[in-house]
Structure formats: C-alpha cells, structure tokens
C-alpha cells in the first residue's frame, strides 16, 4: 500500500483514492446484502444442528400445506418438514457455492498474475490453454465433469472450481497487465524486489478489489450451478437435503402441490440475487467500472 502512495502516478492515486472513499462510506446495498449473505453463511455452518434429523419422514403427514400441523412450510412427498430440510440443506448449498469460488479464486488469481507478469511465451501458453476451457459453455463443462466424477458435494466443488478458474484468471491477467509499466512497478523492480515479492506487495493489493467484486458475483453463479447439478441428480445423494436436489425430488408433485418444489427454487433464486447485488454494491463502492460479467 505504501508503495502506491509513494508512486505519485495519476491512475494509482485514483485507485487509492477510490478505495479510501469506499472505506469511508459503503453504500447501503453493501451493508444490507452483506448482512444477509453473512447470515446465510452462518445458516450453512449451524443449519444441520438447528434442524435435527430431516432424512426420515412420516408418510402419514405427506404433502401438508403451508402452516398445517405445525409445519411452517408444509411437508414434502415423503412427509418431511420442508423448512427443516431447507435449513439443513443450507450447508451443502453454501459449501458448493463458496468453496469453489475460494479455491478457483486462489488458483485463478495466481495463474492470472503469473501470466500477466511472465514473458510473451509463457503468457500466451497460459492464456491459450485457458481459451480451450473458454470454448465450453460453463454449465455444460460443469455437468460433464460432475457426471464423470459421480455424486457428492466434493465432486460438485471440484467441477465448479475447474469451471471458475479460467474467468478469474482472465480478470487477474487483465488487471496485472494494466499495472505493467506503471511507475511504482518500475521502482519496485529497480529496488531489487523479486517477482514473488512484487506479485505479493505491488500487484495483489491492486488486483484484489476487482477480484473480490467478481468473486462475490461468482458465489451467486456457483450457487445456481450447484443447485442445477443436484437438480439434474449429479449433486448430493438423497436422502440428505440440498436445495437443488429438493427441487429435483419434489418436481413430480408440481401439478398437485406446486409450492413444495417452488420453495427451494425461490430460495436459490433469492440467495443468488443477494450475492449478485452484494457484488454490484461492492463494485460501486470500490469504483470498478469494467463490467465483470
């Protein structure tokens, strides 16, 4: 950070300025959606402890409506409490949304920064390899990998991580390239700093705001993808609950009891919306103009 202040280059000053301003007054969207997102993460951690066992149902109580017999959101086709399964299902859903973004964020930004700092040959080797992954529609690639690996939260996490690495790496590479040739980079090099030190001290702090914004919106996307994988029967194995898988299981009652499948569908929609709006708010706060989607 200090090196930025010393540099005096106009654009880097703008970056620091924007960041200071962002710290002083965060827009209300960041507070509101940040709080909701935090609560969802907490639900992911503590959900299964609150809900108790939700894998076994009582068939006599199946397909109860909203609020009937003490079931706040009714029961599903197997007579299990829908609210309880939503609460318990928060954990796999949150894991599948957040862990891939963290993993891909770490790997992708390392790859992107390395590509941005490397010489011509290595740079084009890395970027052309990423282009190959870009050639697949993301959903399709995730489905193909998840189908190869089989069921389970871990496999969902792996397939989503692979899918998310290329776009994150591309953002990191673009941001890193923009820093090349700036005064503070020159002075860092002149002072004898090694590549790793420059990457950590000079590049990472400057690249991080854009990456954080992008990764926040990617959590929303990963949530939708993960839900979609389990919706296709590729995620968490029944009878354990997961939001997408709940839609898949209860879809057969769509014409008679539509709410049961609708509730988890709306929950995924709302949760992904929260992370996207949080990302939008952060983008405004950190003054990152480039469209990251």
């Amino acid at each position: 950070m200090t090196s930025i202040a010393v540099s005096g280059s106009e654009s880097t000053q703008a970056v620091t300025h924007a960041r200071r301003r962002g710290r002083r007054s965060l827009p209300w969207t960041v507070w509101v959606f940040g709080t909701v997102a935090g609560l969802m993460v907490l639900l992911g951690i503590f959900g299964p402890y609150i809900s108790g066992d939700v894998t076994a149902g009582n068939l006599q109580d199946r397909l109860l409506g909203i609020g009937q017999q003490g079931h706040l959101l009714g029961t599903d086709g197997q007579g299990r409490d829908v609210l309880g399964r939503l609460v318990a299902g928060a954990r796999p859903s949150m894991i599948a949304a957040i862990v891939p973004v963290l993993a891909a964020g770490a790997i992708g930004s390392a790859v992107g920064i390395a590509a941005g700092m490397a010489g011509q040959r290595v740079h084009s080797l890395i970027m052309r390899t990423l282009d190959v992954f870009y050639a697949f529609p993301a959903v399709l690639l995730a489905i193909a990998i998840a189908a190869s690996l089989g069921n389970g939260t871990l496999n969902t996490v792996i397939s989503l991580s692979i899918v998310l690495i290329p776009p994150i790496a591309r953002i990191a590479e673009t941001e890193t390239m923009q820093l090349q040739g700036m005064d503070f980079m020159e002075s860092a090099r002149a002072s004898g700093a090694g590549s790793v030190a420059i990457a950590r001290r000079q590049i990472l702090p400057n690249v991080l705001p854009a990456l954080i914004v992008y990764c926040t919106t990617l959590v929303g996307l990963a949530l939708v993808f993960a839900g979609g994988l389990s919706f296709l029967g590729l995620g968490v194995a029944p009878p354990n609950p997961e939001w997408g898988q709940m839609i898949n299981e209860q879809r057969q009652y769509m014409f008679t009891n539509p709410t049961i499948a609708l509730i988890p569908a709306v929950v995924i929609f709302a949760a992904s919306l929260v992370f996207n709006l949080l990302g939008d708010g952060l983008r405004d706060a950190l003054d990152i103009r480039r469209s990251t989607r």
């Binding site: 390899t129 697949f136 399709l140 189908a147 839609i247 769509m254 609708l262 569908a265 929609f269």
Partner: protein, 313 residues
C-alpha cells in the same frame, strides 16, 4: 478483412484440438464399463473381450484418442450404446432443435434486453428507468430451473394458455412451434436479457456523456438523430455481449430442455450421461463446444466489421 478472418480461424484450430482432448479425457473418467452395458447382462467374458478389442479399448490412451479423433474428423462419432444408432445423426437432430430454441430465445432476449436497457439508459432517474434497471439486475441472477417452475405454475397451469412439454402438438407447423417454444424460450432468454439490458444501459449512458454528442447537439441535430449516433456507438459492446449470450444459450439449455421436455442437445446430453452412453455424450459436448468456438469467431468478425480499430490491432 479476409486476413483477419483467416487469422481468427487459424487461431481456432488449436483451441478445437484442446477441446477434443478435454472431451475425450472427461468421458474416459466416467465410471462404469461401456462394454458391459453394450454386451448386456449375462454376456460371457469372451464376448466382452471380443467387443472390447473391436471397440479399440485394448489400445493405449493415445492410440484410442487418435482413432477417435481421426474417425470424428470423418464424421464418425461412434454408435450410441443406448439406442444402437450412429451418434452423429442423433446429436445433429437434437442440435437442430436446440438451435431453434436458442434462436427463439435470442430474439426474445434482444427484445427484452434492448427495451430494459434503453429505458434505463435514456431515463436513468425516472421510476421507469429504475424499475427497468432493477429488473435487469434481478433477472441476471435467475436460475433457469427456478424460472421454469415459476412460469409453469403461474403462467401455464393457472391460465392454461401455454403447453409445458415438447415441441409440437397435434397440429404441427410454425405457429405451433412458436406456441410450444414460448415458455422454454422465455426461460432461457431471461439471463441474457438482463445481461444485454445492463450492458446496453451502461454503454448508452457512456455514449450520451461523450463529447461528440455535445458536438452533434451544438450543430443543431435533432435529438433523434443524436440518439442514432449514440446507439451506433454502443453496438460493438452490445454485439460482443449478445454473441457471448448466444453461446450461453446453446450450452445452458440443459435445464430448460429437461424441464420442458424439449428434444434438444441438452435433454439428449442429460439422458446420455444418465445412461452412461459415452459416444453420444462425447459427440454432444464436442458439437456444443465447436459451435461455441464458431460463434466466437463470427462475433469477432462482426466486431471487426463494425469497429475498424479491431481489424488493425
């Protein structure tokens, strides 16, 4: 211009080779023995061995890849294990249906997106502008399966106006296709519409704030003529985004096709993955990725046609 296209095409070749490697590798790690599936239950070990060597599964992986690639280049993508038919025509038929759905969705997405972005960009402070901006933001996060369920329950079942399954009814014909395709296309169009709306709004605001707009106004051009110039300025970014969204539509239709029972590539892929039908899965993913690469080349070329700066860089 021709040189630009040729260079762009040449640059697509290694990408396509990489795609082929990944498709081959992904399918190779799918658990389950295709030979056991093909031979059927109760087949003797000798039958299985013979089948294995006939399918070339005895060779090492590099040789298997080479055989697969060379026959793929000749249009032979293997035989469907589940349906005992060549994989390519199966995939080609399904891909045609997906193209219909994607084209329909593209039209809807452009229509909705341009309206949302136009209103939000021209009247950013008005209530209508804010509402359009909010709708764009919300629809970007909408999971297709959630939207599909909402539409089926609240539009199709409540009003009974739209069918919820398949491509054609008893009548057939183009109108019937439009009618059957409306809900699936609308579902697929929502995310692209939101993205197009946001990009159009942002670039419209950018363009209207530029100096040349002031200059045009100073010369006494009517607001409508000024707007034409401003919109022309938004075309490159709009085109790039719309092109990316067509690619998204081609790949992202798995959920829509599965829910609405649309006989396209997405549904076929879902079925072939569930049935461990490797050749069809391979062919489907390959065709989908190839079309994605092709769309990107077309988008880049169109981009170069509109914006001369791209051509020379």
């Amino acid at each position: 211009m021709i040189r630009f296209v040729l260079r762009r095409l040449g640059y697509g070749v290694p990408v396509i080779f990489g795609v082929a490697v990944i498709v081959f590798a992904t399918v190779k790690i799918i658990p389950g023995d295709p030979v056991a599936l093909l031979a059927g239950a109760g087949a003797s070990e000798a039958t299985k061995d013979e089948l294995r060597s006939r399918m070339g599964l005895d060779d090492n992986l590099v040789m298997q890849f080479w055989h697969w690639l060379t026959s793929a280049l000749q249009g032979d993508l293997g035989t469907s294990i589940a349906q005992h038919r060549p994989a390519l025509p199966l995939v080609a038929d399904a891909f045609g249906n997906t193209l219909i759905l994607a084209a329909y969705a593209t039209v809807l997405a452009l229509l909705i997106g341009l309206i949302l972005g136009g209103v939000a960009g021209l009247r950013p402070r008005s209530i209508a502008g804010r509402v359009c901006s909010a709708i764009s933001s919300i629809s970007v996060s909408a999971p297709q399966y959630s939207v599909a369920l909402l539409l089926i329950i609240y539009v199709a079942l409540n009003t009974g106006m739209f069918p919820v399954s398949g491509m054609y009814g008893d009548g057939g014909g183009f109108v019937d296709l439009l009618w059957h395709g409306f809900l699936p296309a609308l579902t697929s169009a929502l995310v692209p519409a939101g993205v197009i709306g946001r990009v159009f709004r942002a670039s419209l605001l950018d363009a209207l704030g530029m100096d040349f707009v002031e200059a045009l106004r100073a010369r006494g051009l009517s607001e409508r003529r000024v707007l034409v110039h401003a919109v022309h300025n938004t075309l490159p970014s709009l085109l790039t985004m719309a092109g990316l969204q067509v690619g998204y539509l081609l790949g992202g239709v798995v959920f829509v096709e599965t829910i609405f029972n649309w006989p396209g590539l997405g549904l076929l892929l879902f079925q072939s993955i569930s049935a461990r039908d490797l050749p069809v899965t391979q062919a489907g993913v390959l065709i989908s990725a190839l079309s994605f690469v092709l769309i990107n080349i077309v988008v880049d070329t169109a981009h170069a046609l509109i914006d001369s700066r791209v051509r020379t860089s």
